[in-house]
Amino acid sequence: MLGPEEWQAVLLSLKVALWATLGALPLGIFTAFALARWSFPGKQLVNGLVLLPLILPPVVTGYLLLLTFGTRGPIGAALKEIGIVFAFRWTGAALAAGIMAFPLMVRAIRLSIEAVDPKLEEAAGTLGASRLWVFATVTLPLSLPGILAGAVLAFAKAMGEFGATITFVSNIPGETRTLPSAIYAFLQVPGGEGAALRLVAVSVIIAMAALLLSELLSRRVAARVAGR
């Protein structure tokens, strides 16, 4: 059904989206918790920074990534010293996808953490749990449905990321040619419509599957968390 080139794009996209989601998740949970539960100076600034990729044109985000994480950028050069390279690699595609998906993820997780009753956290504290334990045993499990939903949303967004990815890591077959980039590339050559359409179908299937999975997961977890 799918040609080798098309399979390559699908598998690469899955890999990139998975790493983008897994990489963004710990920081996303931490940021969401800080925004939901703490008050600190510059909170609005942090909130704005988190949301920025949602508002900026993706090509701007991609270009900013190139400037900072490119091999001559300040962070990219430093990372290159220890053997980590993002520019024009699939890891760079994952970085771009992760950053683009971050605002959606943080929003969903923040909402679910805010929905956890702080009174339960207080109760855990009086029972001997330190703040970290309260988070691990009460806040985290109770906000799990939202965290899962946030992760699935981020995964879907990462699968579809195009603008920032193509600007930052270009469109190299087998390395950075993800699903959207491949569809774009096929549409640029005569006779590529067939391949493009097949990839479009794959995109729709993966997106629907992700949505259904997240629905199922969050319904199960929500029931468990509500104590029923």
Binding site: D117, L120, A123, A124, T126, L127, G128, A129, R131, R228
Partner: protein, 361 residues
């Protein structure tokens, strides 16, 4: 081990300035809503921080503004029973019960069995809190607090959200805690019946200040305190069953005072506490004859407090025990009552309802 509290805190327009000691047993913080009860208990728990002062539990300082000590809640070793149970919805009853013990170095299985047995929650262990009734939830919350190996138990109106039947179901557990727990209990309430039943000592609060503190019988029998108003006033007697009469009457003795009440089960010598509401006590200047009331007790007026309205509150000394009587000013005037007057206190046996008698003490 006893708890001493001496704190000051300003919350908006409200000023808290409280100093009291809670010895072994149940110390009830008693007062209207807004008198500072919950503020105090939250400061003891470490959920809020006072502006200044000291809170010590035994030799341990939980909070000391001078020494800059403010232990976080999880290091205070308190068991807090909230009004709204606050069970963890994602954990089973068994896991909820074990939660505190886990941080205190493990739950002893004998302790676990004893607490589960005492609270009658053995059948609930594998259930989720969402499937429990209000009374069951509150019993699990009590067990959870007990099993965290606390050095002090805090209870913030733990029965307020329950109906009368559920209250009657839970109160005995607090009595057992008082009598066999070995841990001081600080109990917030504004229900006079609860106070009379549970309190070993009472701290009366009014507008953020301690207006009176002392042993329960002394504070509850003092007409000048009545922190909830004269309408709810009543005295508390600690008595023993002196005799069981064949016609279903139980004779109670407190000092030399003898009181006849409807049957209370229990062997002679069993200790009970009796809550006698001030509105159930009548006063006569001469011994009434051919009257149905079984209790006609010679008494002396020890305090007479005339209210601003039509009411008056009279404290009666009956053989060294204190009773309160709520009458009208008109009656007080008609009888010529004054402090030191010799009178008779009249109390119908049936007005002492079985639920106002609890034992053992």
């Amino acid at each position: 081990m006893s708890l001493t509290v001496d704190i000051r805190q300003t919350l908006g327009a409200f000023h808290l300035d409280a100093r009291f000691e809670a010895p072994q047993g149940v110390t009830v913080l008693f007062g209207r809503s807004g008198s500072g009860k919950t503020s105090i208990i939250n400061a003891v728990a470490g959920l809020t921080r006072p502006d200044a002062g000291r809170i010590t539990l035994g030799a341990r300082a939980l909070y000391d503004s001078d020494a800059r000590i403010a232990l976080p809640p999880h290091r205070r070793r308190i068991g807090y029973i909230f009004q709204d149970a606050r069970l963890f919805p994602h954990l089973s009853v068994r896991q909820n019960l074990g939660y505190g013990g886990w941080f205190a170095g493990g739950t002893d299985s004998a302790d676990f069995a004893r607490v589960v047995e005492m609270l009658g929650i053995g059948a609930l262990l594998e259930r989720r809190p969402g499937k429990l009734s209000g009374g069951e939830r509150q019993r699990v919350a009590i067990g959870r607090a007990l099993l965290s190996k606390p050095a002090l138990i805090l209870a913030d109106e733990p029965l307020a959200a329950l109906d009368e039947a559920r209250k009657a179901e839970i109160l005995p557990y607090f009595e057992r805690l008082r009598d066999h727990g070995g841990v001081p209990v600080l109990y917030v309430s504004h229900a006079p019946a609860e106070v009379a039943r549970l309190a070993t000592s009472v701290v009366a609060l009014d507008g953020g200040r301690v207006s009176a503190q002392g042993p329960a019988a002394q504070i509850l029998g003092d007409p000048s305190i009545t922190p909830l108003g004269a309408r709810a006033a009543g005295a508390m007697l600690e008595a023993r069953i002196a005799a069981q009469h064949a016609d279903g009457i139980t004779e109670l003795g407190a000092g030399r005072l003898r009181l006849l009440v409807p049957r209370i089960s229990g062997a002679v010598g069993t200790g009970v506490r009796v809550h006698i509401q001030a509105q159930d006590v009548m006063i006569a200047t001469r011994r009434p004859e051919e009257i149905s009331a079984l209790n006609v007790l010679p008494a002396q007026v020890s305090t007479l407090r005339l209210g601003n309205g039509p009411g008056a509150l009279v404290q009666l000394d009956v053989d060294g025990q204190l009773l309160l009587a709520r009458i009208t000013r008109r009656s007080a005037k008609a009888l010529g009552l004054h402090e030191g007057a010799q009178v008779f206190a009249v109390l119908k046996a049936v007005s002492v309802a079985p639920q106002s008698i609890t034992g053992p003490i």
